[in-house]
């Protein structure tokens, strides 16, 4: 059966898959943000997520894990973190070098001797 709500149903199916992946901790930060934005406006998906969560909590508690309601967060891989740190440091070094070339450091602009007083006999 196909009706006017078929497209919406397909969209909801996709969101349900996303909710499932989020509760498994498999979504990236961007995907989590998109899902959170959708949940804020879609009561149906929000309800589905709550149901999923309740089921998971009940199952976990019955398995003896009282902290199962904590949704696992996506982990940041060490390689990615290192790459961003290196990029940030490099950008800071380049900006500092460029600023020093352009404006100089404290007290720069003239040499020390040029900034000192001088006496001239006329």
């Amino acid at each position: 059966m196909t009706g006017p709500g078929a497209g919406a149903d397909a969209g909801h199916e996709q969101w349900l898959v996303q909710i499932d992946a989020e509760l498994d901790g498999e979504l990236s930060l961007v995907e989590r943000a998109a899902l959170a934005k959708h949940l804020a406006t879609c009561a149906r998906c929000a309800g589905a997520r709550a149901s999923q969560l309740e089921v998971r909590v009940a199952l976990a508690r019955s398995a003896g894990n009282p902290h199962a309601f904590v949704v696992p967060r996506p982990s940041i891989r060490a390689g990615t973190l290192t790459l961003w740190v290196v990029i940030a440091l490099a950008a800071g070094l380049v900006a500092g070098w460029a600023a020093n070339r352009r404006w100089g450091g404290p007290g720069a602009g003239t040499t020390l001797e040029e900034s000192r007083g001088t006496i001239v006999v006329q």
Binding site: P106, S115, G117, I119, V121, Q122
Partner: protein
């Protein structure tokens, strides 16, 4: 002794001139302007031949304090300037101003009544070729004069500010050879009769007797210069020029009871004595002879 050495000695002695010679520093603070330089301040400092002049100039971003001293050598004179400069170099991460401090010395030789031009904030790029380069900021014209002024040895200073927004100060700096010291013994609300003395720095100690409530206290006192100041600024611009120290010891032993230091400004300084009395020493300039 060769003839040249002897004549040099005579010239050096003649330049001392005794108390009859009066030295005058005549200055003008000039700001460069598009049409004609503008005189911001003018003034003069005069006094005995060993008088120094302290000049202070402040702007929003720099402060220069300089002490000028002259040494007559025949018909010429050596002008030495001890500079203490502070320059604003920016702000810290917390928004506070950052200053760099610098001390240095300049020395030139000129003849009397020559004009020395002082660039307190330095000159522009080009170093000594400022004849063809615009100087940075204002400059000071200084003329040294000497005259024979009889017994007049009192220092004098005068400054006229043409622009009251400028922070320019001019001071005569004279190091006292003698000081008038007034000693009192104090206990509770009883004060002994004042005992004035003219003391010379570095001369042998003198004995003084003070009587309080019929009981005589004999002390040995001597006048000396204070220790050199620890801060570079105080040392460079001789902020302690008019400070003297009075060492006090009991008559029967040379073990000092203490030292009182102060400016010659008529303010009493106190020293507690083991007897329970307090010695009050007031320093002032001696009477002019």
């Amino acid at each position: 002794m060769g003839l040249s050495s002897f004549s040099s000695l005579l010239i050096a002695l003649s330049t001392l001139q005794g108390p009859g010679t009066r030295l005058t520093y005549r200055i003008r603070v000039i700001e460069p302007a598009a049409v004609a330089p503008r005189i911001l301040a003018s003034g003069r400092v005069s006094g005995p031949i060993d008088s120094d002049m302290r000049l202070t100039l402040r702007t929003d971003t720099a402060e220069v304090e300089a002490l000028f001293q002259v040494t007559p050598v025949g018909d010429t004179v050596s002008l030495a300037g001890e500079f203490f400069a502070r320059r604003n170099v920016g702000r810290s991460r917390r928004g506070l101003p950052l200053w760099e401090e610098d001390t240095y010395r300049r020395l030139v030789r000129l003849t009397w009544s020559d004009t020395a031009r002082i660039y307190p904030f330095g000159v522009g790029k080009g170093g000594a070729e400022f004849g063809t380069k615009a100087p940075r900021g204002l400059w000071v014209e200084l003329i040294l004069e000497r005259e024979f002024a009889g017994g007049e040895a009192r220092a004098a200073e005068a400054l006229e500010l043409a622009d009251s927004t400028q922070d320019v100060r001019l001071e005569a700096v004279v190091r006292p050879r003698r000081a008038r010291v007034i000693l009192n013994l104090v206990r509770g609300d009883t004060v002994s009769a004042p005992r004035p003395m003219d003391l010379v720095t570095g001369e042998p100690p003198r004995v003084v007797q003070l009587v309080l409530r019929g009981r005589a206290t004999t002390l040995v006192v001597s006048l000396s210069r204070p220790d050199p100041p620890r801060s570079a600024r105080e040392r460079v611009i001789a902020l302690d020029a008019d400070v003297v120290c009075l060492s006090v010891a009991p008559a029967d032993t040379r073990q000092p009871l203490g030292t009182v230091c102060g400016r010659l400004n008529n303010v009493a300084r106190q020293l507690a004595l083991p007897s329970g009395d307090t010695l009050a020493a007031t320093f002032s300039w001696p009477g002019w002879r």
